[in-house]
Amino acid sequence: MIRFDAVSKQFPDGTKAVDELTLEAPTGKITVLVGPSGCGKTTSLRMINRMITPTDGRIWIDDQDTAEMDEAQLRRGIGYVIQHAGLFPHRTIVANIATVPMLLGWGRRKAESRALELLERVGLPASYAKRYPAQLSGGQQQRVGVARALAADPPIMLMDEPFSAVDPIVREQLQDEFLRLQGDLGKTIVFVTHDIEEAIKLGDQIAVLRGSGNLAQLSDPAQLLAHPVDDFVADFVGKDRGYRALSFQQSPQFPLSRESSVPLGATPEQAAAAARDGWVLVLDADRRPLGWIEPDRITAPVRSEMLARGGTVATAGGPLRNALDAALSSPSRRGVIVDDQGALLGTVRAYEVLAEIEERARPELDEADLERAGLRPVEETPE
């Protein structure tokens, strides 16, 4: 656990970068600091490993005051990942990853075998070990940056916009792998980003900062979307909040409609026989949906190019957002629901998903927010 206790930072030029920040980053969770550029995110993050010294307040790691720890010792126990990875250009990839173990005196052999293990862990082939950073793409360098921070297995990781210098597709991959890795490792992570989507995707807990490191709101992603505390946060969180919040709500067991289907190669007659309201779903050999087809409009056996592929597919029990989107995007208006293996289970209509959404209670305000807003709690209605 990392705890900010009324921490302030004023730079010598008078800039008040952080003002009385109080915050707790729970053990084993990802806490995201998010806010507009210049709001003090980096400053807050770097005060944790004392790259920046607070002018006021204390930062605790578990029950230790960081101000009383040896700087270098403190940092060796904290992984640190930054925007452009900051790899050492003169060292090979393994040597880069092995840096902290070597500093800790592990010995070359042990440090290198650990580095190779991590290289694989972050999804890079072992053949990259002897390359130099300049031979890697931005996304690959960033993976090495993460591996290097993990090398000495620190319980804490600080990450400052680690994925913002790579293109959107690579960023998404890196985010997914980061979540998978965190699922295995369970580090205490403080993650800085200016991208609210990234914050919502990655954070267990999100701290929205406004200017001068003022904590505007601290809550989990669903709560943030449902109850931005003020106009600033609402604005920053952005549009489509209602829709995006559905990402955090599990779908129930919908009453699925059975959907008849045809394989590729089915004749127009077979397709027409199976169709409902003019559309029929085409599956592969493992019963995975390939796309929809209108039998009336084909004159030859079903080929892959004929399929309408606009529809998304939702996994049963996944987020409501995906189920709703499957229905909205389906050319037949029937949203395709599949099992964990991706095999067809059935379809659901948008109004059925909406009915389910309307059944749900919206997340309630926190007690503190209730009090601040001057509202009284919703009363339990007796059954």
Binding site: N49, M51, E71, A72, Q73, L74, R75, R76, G77, Y80, I82, Q83, H84, A85, G86, L87, F88, P89, H90, R91, T92, T99, V100, L103, K130, R131, Y132, P133, A134, Q135, G145, R148, A149, L158
Partner: protein, 232 residues
Amino acid sequence: MINRIIAWLADVAHWQGDDGILRRLVEHMEYATTALVIAALIAIPLGLYIGHTGKGRFLVVNAVGAARAIPSLGLLYLAFFWLAPRLSGEVAFLAPAGLVLVVLAIPPILSGAYAGVEGVEPAARDAAVGMGMRGTEVMRHVELPCALPLILSGIRSAMLQVIATATIAAVLGLGGLGRFLIDGLASQDFPQTASGAILVAVLALAVDMAFALVQRSVVSPGLTGRYGKVSL
């Protein structure tokens, strides 16, 4: 003219003895390397320090600029009048010449060193500190190796200037290849002067090429882009 130069250079007698080419070549290299080593011992630590801390940068940048403007010949005479009475024997002549060459060699090495350290990617330095390297570790593991290419090219250009300028040691009656220039001028023996000039240029070129090889072997391929056999 060319034939007379070739004839002069081809004359075995000019190569041997206490005032022969070989002896002068050795003297020349002695002056140049001594000055270069002293200059490097002063300029590299100072440059690294300035690059690392940023302290005194303004002062040093301007001092280096001014030092480049000091005319070597004037400094040589000044140093001679100042040092010669305080010293005796050959040292009375060697010290002023050495001082001039050291003053000449410091600016390029110094600016190479601090520019090299300053040019280290901020993200790499940041990461090094963030990983818990202390000041000297950052210097040893990151700043020095990354600055090496610029430090070496600073030394290389200092080397060229020192080799060319070491010829003026001869105006104080010292040895080195400058002797052929001065003696040739005094006796209107132009083939000798020309040969001296050619020898200095060839020496400079040879040393420069040797240096290029050294540079190639000590600088990390990660910085030069010479990745060797690893395929992309």
